[in-house]
């Protein structure tokens, strides 16, 4: 993890110095009037290699892009947001999943596990533009290839994740 140093710049604003794992340093200066300056110091260098100056509005936009609000990197299999004990995860229904073909109501997700399905993104695997269904009803049937966005406490979510992935043996047995 990166380390962040904070320093007061009286009359100017505040400075945040982030040391990255690769040795580079990123320095962000937030001016009192809202302007942001971002400097890039390569490893071992005393002088900044480059810098950008942004208005308050621009900085907010860039900030939310970096934080991944608009686009989730494909490399990360699941996006995990942990707020205290609550987890919101993006999980894919696997081909041979135990829950494939069953509906939300069948499984009693909310009643039994306290898990709420926030949204379902369909047809992700087929390369078409994902079609999202927000807040699906209890009659929604889990289909392999769909991505489920669900919220719940940590233990239950781990369980749910298992349900979506394995279940191969169980299905064979029945």
């Amino acid at each position: 993890m990166s380390t962040i140093k904070e320093a007061e710049l009286p009359g100017l604003g505040k400075k945040f110095e982030v040391s990255l794992d690769n040795g580079d340093r990123v320095v962000i200066v937030i001016h009192d009037e809202g302007t942001r300056e971002v400097y890039h110091f390569p490893e071992g260098e005393d002088d900044a290699l480059s810098s950008v100056t942004m208005t308050d509005q621009e900085a907010r936009q860039v900030g939310s892009i970096i934080s991944g609000s608009f686009y989730q990197p494909r490399l990360l299999e699941k996006l995990e947001t942990a707020v205290a004990d609550l987890r919101i995860e993006w999980l894919e229904v696997k081909e041979n999943s135990r829950v494939a073909g069953k509906s939300i109501g069948d499984l009693g997700l909310r009643k039994n596990h306290g898990i709420i399905v926030i949204a379902v993104i369909e047809d992700k695997l087929r390369g078409r533009k994902g079609h999202a269904r927000i807040n699906p009803g209890p009659s929604y049937i889990f289909t392999p290839g769909h991505t489920i966005v669900a919220a719940g406490i940590k233990e239950k979510m781990d369980l749910f994740e298992d349900m979506l992935q394995k279940g191969h043996a169980e299905e064979d047995g029945s």
Binding site: E8, P10, G11, L12, E17, V29, E37, Y39, A48, S51
Partner: protein, 405 residues
């Protein structure tokens, strides 16, 4: 008659706008441009082909606005200051800052005494030459894209340190000069002690004093808020005048008190545009006063003071940053950046002139600020090259030393 007053004011503001516009285009501080414009269009303006460019008169209304400008600038200085910020700055800044401010002041005092042969003048000159302009230097750091550098924290810390020093200095100066040069030590010492005790009290007990004022300020309607703050400012100025403290100091002290309340950010928001507006009038009207034909000795004094400031500042700046634990490269950046002088040099000179210390002081201060305004950005920009030259010089000296040995 009333239309004439408005005409004069309109002309004054036209020139003020022009000066600020040009200075922004050239990426320069506006202060020297405002003074210069004041000199060129004021009552002592030059005559070109028989036409005098003296188009702006120094009227009562301009005087009033410029006086408000000084009040607002010092009020703002107080507001910006916070004891918490100073405490957070740490020990290295405290040591470096004390050395820097102390040595600079002593150097100014010595220079002033040598030139003017009088303690009152020496004290004023020390103030003019000792205190850097935080406005110019902050702007310089932003323009040079050095805000992210480690030494910038130190530079800005010194600025805060100087502001504290300035508060004490101005209070002492105002009581020194209120005697009109005829100084009876016993008479003024209680006054000075009182102000210093008050400032220390505000710094130590600031939050408590603020807590007394805080609930009594109505916040909701912006109109009420701004009117009440402005009234407090004016009444404080009058009030302190009755106990022989300069009105500017009253504004500063009020700022210090309000800085510790939750309203400080809001007050700053309201005050900043007013300060910019009236502050500009102050610098302009400072120029109106100056007759360039009477510069005479002031030129030599100003040039001497500039040389002394640059040399002295480089030494004290290097020393201070060495004490604070920065390497020589950082030290050079510090030393060559904090040379700019501006608003407070002019305020000091103007306060001294109004107390009747020495008539050459305003001209000296104007020239001094003017010259430094042009020199200091160049020095700051090239601090890196100067450092490299210094390294080469050191190498040359050690090499020749070795070969001789």
């Amino acid at each position: 008659m009333s239309s004439d007053i408005i005409l004069n004011l309109g002309l004054a503001f036209a020139f003020i706008s022009l000066a600020i516009y040009i200075s922004n285009k050239l990426k320069f501080s506006s202060i020297p441009f405002l003074i210069l414009t004041g000199i060129l269009v004021g009552p002592h303006a030059p005559e070109i082909f028989g036409f005098s460019t003296a188009v702006v008169q120094r009227t009562e209304s301009i005087d009033l606005l410029s006086r408000l400008g000084v009040l607002l600038m010092l009020f703002y200085l107080g507001l910006e200051f916070s004891a918490g910020k100073l405490a957070a700055a740490g020990l290295s800044l405290f040591k470096g800052g004390t050395v820097y401010v102390g040595l600079n002041f002593l150097r100014g005092l010595a220079f002033g005494w040598i030139v003017f042969q009088g303690w009152a003048e020496a004290f004023v000159v020390a103030g003019i030459t000792g205190i850097s302009s935080s406005a110019i230097i902050t702007k310089l750091l932003v323009d040079l894209k050095r805000t992210a550098n480690p030494e910038t924290e130190f530079i800005l810390g010194i600025m805060v340190f100087e502001d504290v020093f300035l508060a004490v200095y101005l209070s002492v100066m105002s009581s020194l000069l209120s005697g009109g040069g005829d100084v009876e030590a016993l008479e003024i010492i209680p006054g000075i002690a009182l102000i210093i005790v008050f400032i220390l009290l505000v710094i130590v007990l600031g939050r408590r004093i603020g807590a007394l004022v805080e609930p009594r300020l109505p916040v909701k309607p912006a109109e009420t808020f701004v009117v009440i703050v402005f009234t407090m400012l004016l009444l404080t100025a009058v009030l302190v005048e009755t106990i022989h403290i300069a009105e500017a100091i009253g504004a500063l002290l009020l700022g210090l008190v309000l800085a510790e309340t939750v309203h400080s950010k809001r007050v700053i928001q309201f005050i900043t545009p007013m300060r910019d507006l009236f502050g500009a009038v102050f610098f302009f009207s400072f120029g109106l006063e100056i007759d360039y034909r009477l510069f005479g000795d002031a030129v030599y004094i100003a040039v001497g003071a500039v040389l002394m400031t640059v040399a002295g500042n480089v030494i004290t700046g290097l020393l201070a940053s060495w004490i604070a634990g920065y390497n020589s490269k950082r030290g050079f950046n510090v030393a060559f950046t904090i040379i700019a002088r501006g608003e407070f040099a002019i305020i000091t000179a103007s306060l001294a002139a109004s107390a009747g210390v020495n008539s050459t002081l305003p001209a000296f201060a104007a020239l001094y600020v003017l010259i430094l305004a042009f020199i200091s950005p160049v020095l700051a920009k090239n601090s890196r090259n100067i450092h490299q030259a210094y390294i080469k010089l050191i190498q040359l000296i050690t090499k020749t030393g070795v070969s001789e040995g």
